[in-house]
Symmetry: D2
Subunit: 415 residues, 4 copies
């Protein structure tokens, strides 16, 4: 069983399906055609590719298997839009997704319509549906992951351009000031991981016991102001604060500040999806690497939390409504005092299998497990995480030098 809580109401499922699928095209609707095909770095994918790949997921994993008489929209899209599922087909090199002008954006949108129509047709008539519904649910969560990636990738694409184009015109509010507070936890055996009704990825399971040592968690994420102090006090040129790999990365890439910061005359600015903005000192620092998060924590005499500690903290969070933290019109982290939904917080935990971990079965066996090497877990969701996609048990993961995601810092200390 891939999931234990699939909704057995076809109409509700069709409605969810449409909502998720439409949100993806809505995200892209603010782009020019030319933006859709850019790949300024290998880790970024062109928006057009996201539009196609999420569609391919439904076509290949569901329609080909479950809809009798189904014909693929195009014989070659399997190769173009498979990301990395080696059991399914050969796939185009990730770093060369930006070399593909065809299919055009409008052809990919036609592909989306074709698949959407077929999925709805399938949902309307299917009887034995438990595996289908499970795969469909995964497909929707998969698409939501790509929605967040779209925001991340669009930001890189626009920022790489010296014309500094704006994704969204809305203005950003000023962040409120932050008061430092800490929450303490006792030692003992705790349960972590997913056990509730509701969807979860294989990597969040099984729920299991873990021994926790006493710790305190800061109730705020680190702000731009605090991070600027770290810069002013030579944080980037003090080797003892840094991991060895981090120090090499720093110097090879001449890193001196978070990804989107720019200094101009005496002022610091930050490139955002809402255009270039004066740096807001009370907003959470974001777009930093694990190396930077770890060095900052060392400089503060603290440390990063483990993923278990952070999950335990998040679970008792009073942020009942994730969505309440959202800025309605801006796509930029604002509230350092929020526990969830502003920036993904780096943990010191390597992304490893949970005790008793079993991958999904079938093609999606390759979904998570094969990436459990040289990545660190982040938790807490961010401003770009779609509604309905957040879970306390969610394990996001990135390589320690990556920073194009909305990543920040929550400090911990042993007590």
């Amino acid at each position: 069983m891939l999931s234990r809580t699939i909704n057995n109401n076809p109409e509700a499922l069709i409605s969810s399906y449409k909502a998720v699928r439409n949100y993806t095209t809505e995200i892209c609707s603010r782009l020019e055609i030319e933006d859709h095909v850019m790949q300024p770095t290998a880790e970024v994918s062109p928006p057009k590719w996201h539009l196609g790949h999420t569609t391919w997921f439904f076509e290949e994993l569901i329609l080909v298997r479950f809809l009798s008489g189904f014909e693929r929209f195009h014989a070659n899209y399997n190769v173009l839009f498979n990301s990395y599922y080696k059991s399914v087909s050969k796939h185009w090199l990730q770093g060369e997704r930006g070399h593909l002008s065809r299919p055009t954006v409008s052809e990919v949108l036609a592909y989306r319509s074709y698949v959407d129509e077929k999925i709805i047709e399938l949902l309307s008539c299917e009887n034995d549906h438990s595996e289908l519904y499970s795969l469909l649910e995964i497909g929707l969560h998969h698409e939501q992951q790509h929605q967040e990636l779209l925001f991340m990738d669009i930001k890189v694409i626009l920022a790489a351009n010296p014309l500094q184009p704006t994704y969204l015109e809305a203005s950003i509010a000023r962040a409120p000031t932050v008061v430092d507070k800490w929450t303490s936890f006792d030692c003992g055996v705790y349960e972590v991981g997913h056990n509730e009704a509701g969807f979860a990825y294989d990597n969040e399971m099984p729920e299991h016991r873990t021994y926790i040592h006493p710790f305190a968690m800061c109730e705020n994420t680190v702000t731009n102001g605090e991070y600027l102090e770290f810069i002013h006090e030579q944080g980037y040129s003090t080797p003892k604060l840094w991991l060895s790999l981090g120090w090499d990365w720093l110097n090879q890439n001449n890193i001196r500040h978070p990804l989107y910061w720019q200094r101009c005359d005496e002022f610091w600015y930050e490139f955002t999806l809402n255009g270039r903005q004066l740096l807001d000192l009370n907003a959470p620092v974001s777009h930093i690497s694990y190396f930077e998060a770890d060095a900052f924590a060392n400089w503060k005499g603290c440390r990063l939390p483990t993923e278990q500690e952070l999950e335990i903290y998040l679970r008792m969070s009073t942020d009942v409504h994730f969505e309440n933290n959202k800025n309605e019109h801006a796509l930029h982290p604002l509230l350092a005092s929020a526990n969830i939904g502003q920036v993904w917080c780096w943990t010191r935990s390597h992304y490893s299998p949970y005790p008793g971990f079993r991958p999904f079965e079938g093609a999606i066996e390759e979904y998570n497990g094969k990436f459990m090497c040289n990545q660190f877990v982040l938790k807490g969701g961010c401003i770009a995480t779609p509604k309905g996609h957040y879970r306390h048990t969610y394990r996001n993961f990135y390589q320690p030098q990556q920073r194009w995601m909305f990543s920040g810092i929550r400090l911990t200390k042993g007590i």
Copy 2:
């Protein structure tokens, strides 16, 4: 004096200007917007960039200097569309031209219209025009060079796509069979280089004397059929045929045939701007590197000509009308028996300054001279060379491993 033969008739000049400028947009009119922004390899530029760069050339080198009160279309285009003129401004990295989604294609077309309007305004009123006319003439020849580059680059962009899109739907005729013939030349002092009325680049001047040793030139360029024989007789795995750098290049890049050849089952195909075609054994081999041309000549017991030998041969060519060699509807070399206008022929001559060479003055000093290192001269024009752009004295030049241009082989031997 940059040129000695500028047309002093403003109306004729305006007419030439419009014709050249329109042909560029006509070339691009067969592309999708998505095609315009691709850069699959660093040596290829996105078509949109060609549209902008050729326009920038007129804006920066002419309008800014000669049209009083002129305001640039956009403050940042100077950086984006300067190719390599270090005396003019900083310029965007060549290898990252494909990272720019903005300005959009339609904004670049608006930029073209703006500059065209201003140039025509300038031409209509300018009195002291000799330097202006010279620069304009260079600008038009410059744009014609980019027209050929557009065909080359579009071919790479489309070929990189597994969908193998077609630029032009027209069918390609079958090439006629070829009979081997040679023309002999005596030793003695000859004149080479440009001296006539009419435009020429600085690198073609001055006309000068050179001592020629007796030689014979083949009247046909090498055909696909002859080249296939070289492949079948292990040409690509016989080290003694190859330059040392060529042998390394071959093995590092796993080169086993010309750039656009594809083998499928027992048949050889060639990707063309008219789509994938069965290899025509009588057509000239094209898209080969200097290394391949040199190895083939060694295998034949011949050699490549010097640029002086080839210029002397071309000058006595009976191909009075370059344009007659053009396939009306196809952009693919067809006639191995033609002396000019089918494929650029590699010479064994390093691209070096002529005795007494003096670069253009001003910003365009950087046009030619600074590339005189590690490049070889090619002569003869190709199917993609625009009408009116060909000269016997023309010195095209590429690095020995490059092969995305329409390059072929004409054999020579000492006698």
Copy 3:
């Protein structure tokens, strides 16, 4: 306090000091001068560098601080022989250690004698010795680590040579056959980490509680025969067995077998410090990467142990005497049935700080903590580990693609 168990008997300490120091030169005594300066890959250091660096450790961290009036042997050796201690001085690039012909081997041996004499002088007269003794103890353990590195590096240096020279002439016994057995452990809270009297590195402390899920540990390490079966059953060409990074590493480096295996006609050989040998199917497989260990475990339907599981297993080991497992005359793993002292076993645990971890103080703060990124822990010691250097709590660590250490596989499964 760096260590809690330092021997307060100066004579015994002098005797230990001499024994450890002499063993290093003894290891190198079987080399030619030319062998001492080789660095065939960046991760290998020339033996001469090991001789100098271990000496520098005593000079810089002890003599300079504790011996009044001490003068350095040479003004520039600090730069040459500092490995990575950024708080101490600038240091020569690791990857360029093989570019240094000077100081000569005999000059480095003179350096060793000079420092040894001064250390003994210091030990004979020092009164307030607790910090000195702690640093000296660390220096000796540090030198023992380099003794194992010397064996590893010498093996790479000799194997890189097509003449395949032999380090040691002694013959290798045939390995006994192995019977598969498993030991089971219950779930519950266990203690791991160092708490006993006796030396330990900072990264082994503090001792702490951890929750363990039920598991079974194989009593043998994987043999060459079992690994050969994995090869024959297409292990290296089955993507679903591999981590994503491992699959890329495999294909980029064309990896098809463990590091020192060679196939010749129908036979498999293994290069050893005792020369090239027919592969012994009963001996433990060694010199494999984490990627290979993990893929093998997947293929077996098992997994690699966590470091906690392996420590708990080792602690109940009946191998009372580590040294008993040593082959007297051969430097090659032989006994798959041994728990310790044959091959380091990869664990699935990322090398991370223990709860409450505090680095050593002073310059040696950089000893361990800064490498806690993208490395995996190995446990159990190997045939090249010096006598007296082994501990059950020892945390060895390497990057997942590295395999020049004597690394092998011990399988685990959940129960």
Copy 4:
């Protein structure tokens, strides 16, 4: 016929053979064993390799063919010491020559003795000797080329070491001041290339006619003082002086002065085979790339000569005795007024085949021709060129960015 002037006196030939062979070991006799195996950059070979390779040349090209019953000294040396002769055998990668500790230096010296003994045995008994003598003569010239390479490579090896060891202790005299003078040449047809009695490489032949345009040649090579002025006047930061590839090379490698110059406080020093010296402003500038030579010439309003011009100039040289220019005890260029024997002068001529060029036959076909790509010719000999090896027609060649040879500048201008 490989050569037309071979000495038919076996005793004289034996004597030449011994003299050349002994000089090679004499050069190495001032090195430590450790120096013999260093390869700090791919273009440098370890001195031990030169000792072996020059010996292999005689073994493989002569003894194996001409001495009946000859047995190779060692079965594997063919692979180790073949440089690049693909028709002879596989060969070890050039860039990994520094990874070979074995055979030891003393084994390679034994190899030399073995081959020398056999060659002398062969010379004493051989009757039909014309091809043998030709190959032997080539072998001796080949060894002399490697003697110059030895000085170049030793200099790199010692300079790479922060201890800055000295090859030769002798002091360097102060260079005399230089007065600027020019020699003029008329236009017309000249003969260049080798035609005299005496040995020459295939690339110097045949002698042939060439048309020369009027030019003047400076009678001095450029001095350190003149070059320093170029540096002070921002030569290295003025893009218009540089070839495009040169400008890229400059910035990618952060080049700001000739290879061995060092600035320390307010003084300029130069590392020499005689140790670090204060820069002598009257001595010829050396160890510069083609890019630097060309930029300097541009800055002076002059140009580099063609190889034909420089050969014509050298031929009328009054330096009857090449050897007179040698510093007896120093290996450093001193006399800017000398025409030959101080620094190799870059020409603007690409290294290309002469009209009618025919490579040597047999294995040595690969000696010269296959390097005729992306290299420039240098002429005039240098302080490290062995006695008896110089010819006016000699065509030395290097890539435009290389500068570890003793390369300098002689200016030319059209008149």
